[in-house]
């Protein structure tokens, strides 16, 4: 299933039934198809809740919660959220990679193929796509390993592979760089750049490197409220206003190294990715 899908929210709010405060409050944004949006914010900002809402998991499993507003994915409107998991149209990679390993397959290769078996592809296509994704994420050497023996970083890449192999038009990644080292980050960034050509990508992050490298749009949340939504350059021009919201180490990183365009670090990263 391939093709672009745009994502839009209009005055979207959500409150869990057992909570007095809204988890998400009046979010309004529109992410064009074939672009990448980074969702930034401190812990508890509602980043994961937003991804769950867009994937359909929130509507499917928290039906007692109260949602208002509207969400539109690929032209289909939901009032306010999808009530069923939208896979394979929308793919969500969870924060903890070890829970994404199904445990139902003996090797990494079979684990990745499990996704395609679920969506009913035939054996030849399953094999071809699996080989392709292993190559893309540079994890061919892990194919015959048992998933339970992988390191945190390896597991994260395998979990990502098992999602991306289905080629969903919308890809949601919840803190994809948490367990990944430097070279792994670069591989991930390259993958996102190439994924943007075929899908719409949203990811959450507590750091800023990946966001500034690959994202076209930035959405900043704090305590469920939308603090900013716009293009990356516009974010950088207004970044002073987020000093109280973003974690201190991110603010430090921005103010020391990345505020002035053309800094060495930014140039090196862009060169490594092959983007301007």
């Amino acid at each position: 299933m391939e093709g672009f899908m745009e994502i839009e929210a209009r005055d979207f709010s959500f409150r869990y039934s057992e909570s007095a405060n809204a988890a998400l409050s009046s979010l309004t944004f529109a992410i064009p198809s074939g672009s990448c949006c980074a969702i930034l914010g401190p812990t508890g900002a509602g980043k994961t809740t937003l991804l769950y809402a867009l994937s359909g998991a929130l509507g499917a499993h928290y039906s007692s919660g109260r949602g208002t507003g509207l969400v539109r994915i690929g032209g289909e409107e939901f009032n306010p959220v999808p009530q069923n998991v939208l896979f394979p149209r929308v793919g969500l990679a969870l924060q903890e990679p070890h829970v994404q390993i199904s445990g139902l397959r003996e090797t990494v290769l079979e684990e990745i193929q499990f996704t395609l078996e679920n969506i009913g592809l035939d054996d030849n296509l399953i094999e071809a796509r699996t080989i392709d994704i292993l190559r893309q994420l540079r994890i061919q050497h892990l194919a015959e390993r048992k998933p339970g023996t992988l390191s945190g970083g390896e597991m994260q890449r395998v979990a990502l592979a098992s999602l991306l192999v289905a080629r969903p038009p919308v890809i949601l990644l919840d803190e994809p760089v948490t367990s990944i080292d430097g070279p792994g980050c670069l591989t991930l960034a390259r993958s996102i750049v190439s994924l943007k050509k075929k899908s719409t990508v949203l990811f959450t992050d507590t750091g800023l490197d990946l966001a500034l490298s690959v994202a076209d749009w930035i959405l900043v949340l704090a305590a469920g409220h939308q603090m900013f939504f716009g293009e990356k350059n516009s974010f950088l021009q207004n970044v002073q206003s987020f000093s109280g919201i973003l974690p201190a180490h991110i603010w430090q990183s921005i103010s020391n190294k990345l505020l002035a365009p053309g800094t060495d670090r930014q140039r090196r990263f862009a060169r490594a990715l092959g983007i301007r």
Partner: protein, 244 residues
């Protein structure tokens, strides 16, 4: 496959039927035969050196248990009152015969079941069940639980160490240790329940709707020897029930 999982299952059934139908002498012979198969027969080769060691360990344990059953029954089951041998030991012939029948039966039954599982992976067993029409949810649980059995021991060890570092009386007197059981179980159960919720969602997010797909390479039909084993097993049971 000539001697695939379903044929091995049929063979196990036959051995189990023999355990109930045959005499203790034949049961001992078959038990030795089972041990021989585990050592030498290719279809029954253990999956790993770990399972081979587990089989050997169990074979010793069950032999000792069988011996214990024989001695216990010889001591307490007096029957006609005839003692064993010329020495005036309190061991009785009827008890000995009964003990031998019970002991060798449980030995053969247990060893044949273990032979099946040491030579068949859980995955092969799962597909055997799927082919037999067992619901997918049950097969999924088998596969998932074997995954957890591999992963949880290290988690348990970590929780135990963490609780010990917090001052839980894990090496104190019995009552204190019993109380600290809760301090180990509680975080394990809570984190696992939370993880179950996430795992359930994660499976759904990968398109799993409760139906495990069987690919052509996973299926396996019962071979001709398998049908023969099943038939012989049924006949053995009928013979025991109707004629013996």
């Amino acid at each position: 496959m000539f001697f695939g999982p379903s044929t091995k299952f049929a063979f196990t059934f036959l051995l189990g039927a023999c355990a109930f139908a045959l005499s203790w002498q034949l049961n001992i012979a078959l038990a030795v035969f089972v041990v021989f198969l585990e050592h030498r027969a290719k279809p029954f080769r253990p999956r790993s050196s770990q399972t081979h060691r587990a089989f050997r360990r169990f074979a010793v344990q069950i032999s000792l248990l069988a011996l214990f059953i024989v001695i216990l029954n010889s001591l307490f089951l007096r029957g006609a009152g005839q003692k064993i041998g010329s020495l005036d030991l309190p061991l009785y012939v009827d008890g000995l015969k009964f003990g031998l029948a019970v002991g060798t039966r449980v030995m053969l039954l247990s060893l044949s079941i273990l032979l099946f599982f040491t030579s068949t992976s859980l995955r092969e067993f799962s597909f055997l069940l799927l082919n037999a029409g067992i619901p997918t949810s049950i097969v999924t649980i088998i596969l998932l639980s074997s995954h957890f059995v591999e992963q949880l021991p290290s988690k348990i060890g970590q929780i135990f160490s963490a609780q010990e570092a917090r001052g839980a009386p894990v090496k104190s007197k019995l009552l204190a240790r019993a109380r600290s059981l809760f301090s180990v179980l509680s975080p394990l159960v809570l984190s696992s329940i939370a993880e179950s919720v996430e795992r359930g969602t994660a499976l759904e997010l990968r398109g799993f709707r409760g139906q495990l797909q069987i690919r052509k390479s996973d299926g396996e039909k019962l071979s001709f020897p398998g049908y023969v084993f099943l038939l012989l097993g049924v006949l053995a049971i009928l013979w025991k029930v109707l004629w013996k």
